[in-house]
Each structure stands twice: as structure tokens, then as C-alpha cells.
Symmetry: C2
Subunit: 220 residues, 2 copies
């Protein structure tokens, strides 16, 4: 089975790694990192670089398409090559995965019309306008489309999909391998229980997301 | 404040990213990825590449030293330059962080004697033999040393340390930014509650860790 993880400038790393860390450990899973060009892509922090070692042109016929979010989503959504790649790949995938506002890229590509999805807090309205039926859940499966809420929800969505693919026993072994028994030191239990002040700040931050991304110097 | 994340061949990515995703978002945090040489380092899956853009020689006087684990720990522990770098950095850090069996590298560097730490399930005995006082907790702080259990515990340890550094209010905002309200689809609540069969398989896997790492072809 082949999993293709899409990279673009300004992705959020945990959107990828939370799911990758389970899914890539399924026996016989081949994992590849794909992007418009081969090279090092900078995360939204501009400090972390992930290597894309296959071009979209060369990445064809994948089984699992995995699309993360990040502040780079706004530019990615305007990129015809990325949208075409998603549409074309989705025609033959076994699973198509969107995390955080990566779900917005899938929606812009036109593959979420009438599909039940989740996404991160600030992207709910936009995904709904693009045709998705947005649920306020941590992760969700509708047919072959699996979506996760914001950033760290990739770990829950990834473990869920690992079980769908490989069964309960193996998923539990992988869960132990990565010791995914989370225990945050504080906080509410869901995004909707967070303080209104914190939610307002996140929404404001994301509204200026593209500008903020452009303002942080790339470190390498 | 400067955070230096150590890379070496065969790290586990979520060991890094779970903590990085909170800590790197603290205002005015500078984050750098350091290794023996500048270049792309392959994770234990051999499919993911992270870019180290500063050498250990050039990385001096950091505030936060962050050491992940992975199957590459065995080789890293035999590397005098890496051990010297850890010892030297630790003399002047504000915080020294070890995740998963990255804690074993810290112990081998000799900085954990008599220190209360946690580590991943299979590394507990080895860390204890190297002088650490091993606790069975998700994360732990002893003075300026913060340790996390296996892999995904980096998210809990990272959010904990984010609060220690930046206070509750900002930590809650960062928590919302990454929506760290975990909700795994199944599983026990702690590593010690996992099935004996799964634990035996993990221990066996790790015993052959170095051999397994060498057997997986690097994908790029």
C-alpha cells in the first residue's frame, strides 16, 4: 500500500506527523513525500524543513492521499497543479485524508460536496461554503474520506484509519509503539470548550495567516 | 529564547514534533535543527527526511536542548561528538528535554545521575542502569530537566514545558492553536495497561532495533 503525503510551503508539521507516525508503521506501507518540486519545504514556523522526494508528476496512483493544513493552505488553494493532483489522485485512492485546514484544500479541489467532514475550528465556515457538511468532531470517516480536526487531531484520525486498514490488534501494537495514551497537563476536552478569548485570537490570527506567514523569515 | 533540536540518523519524528509544535510557537522562540553535519536526516521509517541546518560546532549556548529518541539512539549513544555536545550544552541550558529513548542518550552523556525522569516503556531498565531514577509517568520535570515517555508523550511534555516557560494563558492559546484535545479512538489509558502480548512484541522489536533500522532501505 502506498501513502503519498502532500507537502507545500507553510504546512503545519504535526498535521502530518500525528497521522504518519501510525499509518507509516502498518506493515508493507510505503510512504512518500510529494510536492510540486523535489526539495526541502519549510513549515509554518519557517524553522523546520521536510524533504519532498517525489514530484506531483511522478506521484501517480497512490492508495492513500494525505493532505495536511497550515498557513500555506491559502496559497496552495490557488495552485492549479496541486488542485489537479488532488482531484486526479482521489479518483483512484482507497483513502483520501485531510487534516486541519488541509480539508479546505480538498474542498477547493471540489471533492467534498455533500461529504461529511470535520476540520479545524477556524476553517469550519469556509469548508461549509465549499460544500462540505461540517461536523464538530475530532475525526470523521465518510466513505473513503477521513478528516481530522486541527493539527494534533491527526494522531486520532491516523490511529482510527490504521485500525480501519490493519485491524484492531495491529493498531493497538502501533499505538503502544508510539505510546499514544495522551494526557495533556491541562485544558478543556474539546475545541468548543476553549475560552472565547482564545478562540477569538485564533480566528484573528488565521484571518491574517497569509500575511503572518510572509512576515516570518525562513530560517534556512 | 533559543531551542536547539538534535537530529541524528534514525530519529522518531513525533518525538520531535509533538513538543516542537507547542514550544516553537512561544513568542520570540527561535528554533533550530542541529546535527553533526548540515543535511537531510532520515527518520526511523526511512521515508521522512528532516533538515538539519546548523552543525553541532556552530550550535552553542542554547537555552533549550531537545533530544528525541528513535531506533538511531543506539548509534547516537556511541557518538562521542553527540555526547560531548549534550554535556557541554547542558552546562548552560535553561531547560534540557529528553523524549522517549532520547532520555537514554542524555543518561549515556552522564547528565541524569540521580535525576528523576520518565522514558518509554522498553528503555526504563537501561535508563535506570545509567543512573536515572525512572518514574512511570507521561512526563516529568526534575529541576531543569524535562522528560517525556514514548514518542507521542512529547506533546504532553511540550505543552507542560510551554506553560512553565510562558504561563497558563499563553499555553492555553497554543493548545487551541494546535487543538491539543486528544481523543484516541480506542486503547488503554497508560502504557502499563497495554496487553502483555503487545508489550512483549515492542520489547522484542526494540532489542533488534539497530538491525531493523539497517534493514529498511532509505527511500531518498
Amino acid at each position: 500500500m502506498l501513502m503519498s503525503i502532500l507537502l507545500y510551503d507553510g504546512f503545519t508539521t504535526l498535521d502530518i506527523v500525528g497521522g504518519y507516525e501510525s499509518l507509516a508503521r502498518i506493515p508493507n506501507m510505503q510512504t512518500e513525500f510529494v510536492a510540486k518540486e523535489v526539495g526541502i519545504y519549510a513549515a509554518d514556523t519557517r524553522a523546520l524543513g521536510l524533504y519532498a522526494w517525489k514530484t506531483l508528476e511522478d506521484a501517480k496512483g497512490t492508495d492513500i492521499l494525505y493532505v495536511p493544513g497550515g498557513l500555506g493552505v491559502y496559497a496552495a488553494q490557488r495552485d492549479r497543479q496541486i488542485l489537479d493532483f488532488i482531484r486526479k489522485s482521489h479518483e483512484t485512492t482507497t483513502w483520501t485524508v485531510g487534516i486541519c485546514n488541509g480539508v479546505e484544500i480538498l474542498a477547493t479541489a471540489g471533492i467534498l460536496t455533500g461529504v461529511e467532514v470535520t476540520t479545524n475550528y477556524f476553517a469550519r465556515e469556509r469548508v461549509a461554503k465549499l460544500g462540505g457538511k461540517v461536523l464538530k468532531t475530532r475525526y470523521h470517516r465518510d466513505g473513503k474520506i477521513v478528516t481530522g480536526a486541527g493539527v494534533s487531531a491527526s494522531a486520532d484520525a491516523g490511529l482510527f484509519l490504521t485500525r480501519e486498514i490493519a485491524g484492531q490488534k495491529l493498531a493497538e501494537r502501533i499505538q503502544l509503539g508510539i505510546e499514544y495514551y495522551p494526557d495533556p497537563p491541562f485544558g478543556p476536552k474539546t475545541v468548543d470548550e476553549a475560552s472565547d478569548e482564545a478562540k477569538a485570537k485564533i480566528v484573528d490570527f488565521e484571518k491574517r495567516g497569509e500575511e503572518i506567514l510572509a512576515s516570518i523569515p525562513r530560517q534556512f
